[in-house]
């Protein structure tokens, strides 16, 4: 059952993970390789996550855009960005993420190295690629990292959320 939240929940939420840029209040990173898997699981359990993998071009604009998608008035309060940008953390999480991708899209063969971002709730709901042309699915041809695609990713995650029993709580 989803946990009921109070009005001040988000303001008082403990910051388990560091926030790389102070102004980007919804963008988090992990605390190092040692606790990466536990922290990753805990983060996914708690949030509607857009997982960003690796370093990429125009990251300042895109991270700012991603943060805005989580703070705009139409955003679900649980929306967060988890940016895994350290190589060792990526290696640590690789198997876990590959398993999640297989579970989310069993019909697709998705190469971990070609994944730039994943919307998770905590199941995989949407994948954004490093090079979408490498995806065998022609529907993925536009799924390259951008604010447009990140908004679509969050849409997919929210649509896939299981309904709460009372539908009154968020």
């Amino acid at each position: 059952m989803a946990k009921a939240l109070t009005k001040n929940h988000f303001e008082n939420m403990p910051t388990t993970f560091p926030i790389p840029i102070p102004s980007l209040t919804r963008v988090h990173t992990l605390n190092g390789m040692e606790t990466a898997i536990e922290d990753f699981d805990a983060f996914l359990e708690e949030h509607i996550t857009l997982l960003l993998l690796g370093r990429f071009e125009d990251s300042t604009i895109l991270l700012e855009g991603a943060n805005k998608l989580c703070t705009q008035e139409t955003a679900h309060p649980k929306q967060r960005i988890l940016w895994v940008n350290k190589l060792e953390e990526l290696f640590t999480l690789k198997t876990k993420i590959e398993d999640a991708l297989k579970e989310g899209f069993p019909e697709k063969e998705i190469t971990f190295e070609n994944v730039r971002a994943i919307a998770m709730m905590p199941k995989v709901a949407y994948v954004i690629y490093v090079d979408p042309s490498l995806s065998p699915d022609p529907k993925d041809k536009r799924k390259k990292i951008s604010i447009f695609q990140m908004q679509r990713a969050f849409n997919a995650a929210i649509k896939a959320l299981p309904p709460t029993p009372t539908e009154e709580e968020i």
Binding site: L5, I61, T74, F148, R152, F154, N155, K159, E168
Partner: protein
């Protein structure tokens, strides 16, 4: 060749039956309490509650396409196809904007349910998926430049997307309009306007009514049809009778009234223009001055002033004729033009301005001559100035009297309009839109209009609202290329759908059927006439006009005063009753509390009063055995 194609395109378009074309308007009935909200089906009777609100939703995408086609743009024009696509995408915007302005406007997010987030995500994703599937659009939107712009945008990303689509659509519209040479500032014969209007119609005629956002009519008197209606009081009956006779007489005498008015105007028009005498004085002063000043060499420069202004003085004649013809035009158009708000005030004001302008030119010339001339008489006075001044004085007199004439004409119009005001409601409109019905070009029409039935003034069940939309080429009928095409026409019937109460008196035939158990019942016959007063609940149907007009059931209680023991003192009876056929027929069951006996009854709401009933002493006047 292109012209031939355009012609063929237009011909094909004209040949399309109206019914085969897209549905531009959707009617939605909404109760003012908000309990009922339903789209009125296009293939069934449109019946709405008499106290409700009719929302008229405009399909901007379909309408714009139609308007450009009416303007002569080929259906396969790539820009038109582009606009159509953008409009289709923008169809999503209403639902998205509505949620943004309602669900997400509250700062307290704990009030927002998960289903709202899911609904919004679905709406937004439908739009974004369509954008993604459009190669041309996605190339424009999904770029680093647009990402940077979205960060500068003061609002959420969904709003940024909608804003972008609207801008794109506007660019295409402007491109199409630019091709047609229609910039919206002039009455180009190629500009197509959309107009939407409504009329209420009943037996005594019709009148235009206000559609919010689409016309400048003021709302009529607020008037809610009571749901608990008492019988009409004497004052109300007198008022109704008075209104009816007034309406009838107006209908009958409308033509006569018009004829009398025209005759009156014809008599007045010859005496109306004092400016005519001042015009003659001016002409006379002008000719005299010209002949005097043309003789001597010294005064010839002054004569030149007159000659230079001859053209403007000539206008005096034309002004006079024009003002008379304008006035007569109004008279010819009586009463339609006046009732439709065409008072020709602008034309008349233009006349005055023309005359004033001409006078000023002349006065300036005289003033300039007085200060710069070298033509002096031996006595030192300026040559010809007295004659020029005399003409100027006459000219000023003419302008003054013309202003007075125009003011008089306008006063007459105002007085006539004032007199016609009570007649306006009952005047049968010919369904023509007045100037108060606004014109909309592509891209700037409101998404919705509504008719607040409580504010359309007097109405009753059975009245009809005609909702009509047209496309017009050119804003004036005087435009040689003016053309009007009706693209929507629908009658909406007003009915008392919501339950309401009614009280009425009628006669019933009561049958005390348990006579064996009630020896006091002394009736020789099966039925006895008895007056009944009923209070019953009624309701209407949104589906069946036949039910509303004929069946019209009611359920309630009936209070009867029979005299089953024939002792001359009526007993009291009460029971349940059902009415039908517009309350003409009623049946029911009751209990006579005086004799403790049940009775059934059947009643007829006959056209004579309960007070005139025969009393029990003559109750042998019964039906049956």
């Amino acid at each position: 060749m292109n012209r031939l194609l355009l012609l063929l395109c237009c011909v094909c378009w004209y040949c399309l039956p109206v019914t085969a074309q897209a549905q531009f308007l959707t009617l939605v009935e909404e109760s003012t309490t908000g309990k009922h909200l339903d789209t009125i089906a296009t293939d069934k009777n449109a019946i709405v509650d008499i106290n409700s609100r009719i929302r008229i939703k405009i399909d901007a995408a379909a309408l714009e396409d139609e308007m450009f086609r009416f303007q002569g743009i080929a259906a396969q024009d790539s820009r038109l196809l582009r606009l159509k696509k953008l409009n289709q995408l923008l169809r999503h915007q209403n639902a998205i904007l509505e949620m943004l302005n309602t669900t997400f406007s509250d700062a307290d997010k704990t009030k927002i349910a998960l289903r709202d987030y899911k609904k919004f995500a679905t709406l937004l994703d439908d739009l974004m998926e369509e954008i993604e599937n459009d190669d041309e659009l996605i190339e424009l939107i999904d770029t680093p430049e647009m990402d940077a712009k979205s960060l500068e945008f003061d609002g959420p990303y969904p709003l940024f997307l909608i804003d972008f689509l609207e801008q794109e659509a506007q660019v295409v519209r402007e491109s199409l309009l630019a091709d047609l040479g229609a910039d919206g500032q002039i009455d180009s014969s190629l500009i197509v306007y959309f107009r939407l209007g409504a009329f209420i119609k009943n037996k005594s005629g019709g009148r235009p009514i206000h559609i919010e956002n689409f016309d400048d009519y003021v709302m009529d008197e607020y008037f809610e049809i009571e749901r608990f209606g008492t019988p009409l009081g004497d004052d109300e009956k007198i008022e109704i009778a008075r209104n009816k006779s007034l309406n009838d007489s107006i209908q009958i005498n409308n033509l006569q009234l018009g004829g009398h008015f025209k005759e009156l105007v014809r008599l007045e028009v010859t005496e109306l223009f004092p400016s005519d005498s001042s015009r003659i004085n001016l002409r006379r002063a002008y000719k005299r001055a010209l002949s005097t000043l043309s003789v001597q060499r010294l005064t010839k420069p002054a004569a030149q002033i007159l000659l230079n202004n001859e053209l403007s003085l000539e206008q005096v004649n034309r002004l006079y004729n024009f003002s008379v013809s304008t006035y007569e035009t109004v008279v010819q158009g009586f009463p339609d033009d006046l009732l439709q708000g065409n008072t020709f005030t602008d034309n008349l004001d233009e006349l005055v301005n023309l005359a004033l302008g001409s006078y000023k030119n002349y006065a300036d010339d005289v003033s300039l001559y007085a200060t710069t001339t070298n033509s002096f008489l031996p006595d030192g006075n300026i040559a010809g100035l007295p004659e020029l001044t005399l003409v100027e004085n006459n000219y000023a007199g003419y302008v003054d009297s013309l202003e007075t004439d125009i003011e008089n004409i306008k006063n007459i119009f105002d007085r006539v309009l004032e007199l016609l005001q009570p007649f306006k409601k009952s005047y049968l409109e010919n369904e023509e839109f007045t100037e108060q019905v606004r014109r909309f070009m592509v891209g700037n029409m409101p998404a919705e209009g509504f008719i607040e039935l409580k504010s359309v003034g007097e109405r009753k069940a059975g009245d009809e609202i005609l909702i009509k939309a047209v496309l017009e080429r050119g804003a004036s009928k005087n435009n040689p290329n003016y053309e009007s095409r009706e693209i929507y026409r629908r009658y909406v019937h007003l009915a008392r759908v919501s339950p309401y109460f009614r009280m009425s008196g009628s006669l019933v035939l009561a049958n005390p059927y348990a006579r064996a158990k009630s020896p006091q019942v002394a009736l020789a016959n099966k039925f006895q006439f008895a007056p009944t007063y009923g209070i019953f609940m009624k309701w209407g149907s949104r589906k069946s006009k036949f039910y509303n007009d004929f069946i019209n059931l009611g359920v309630g209680m009936g209070f009867t005063s029979p005299d089953f023991d024939l002792d001359g003192t009526p007993e009291f009876g009460a029971g349940l009753m059902i009415t039908g056929l517009r309350d003409i027929l009623s049946v029911g069951w009751g209990w006579n509390f005086g004799l403790d006996t049940p009775y059934s009854f059947i009643g007829f709401n006959l056209p004579f009063t309960v007070g005139a009933l025969p009393n029990s002493a003559t109750s042998s006047n019964v039906f049956g055995n």
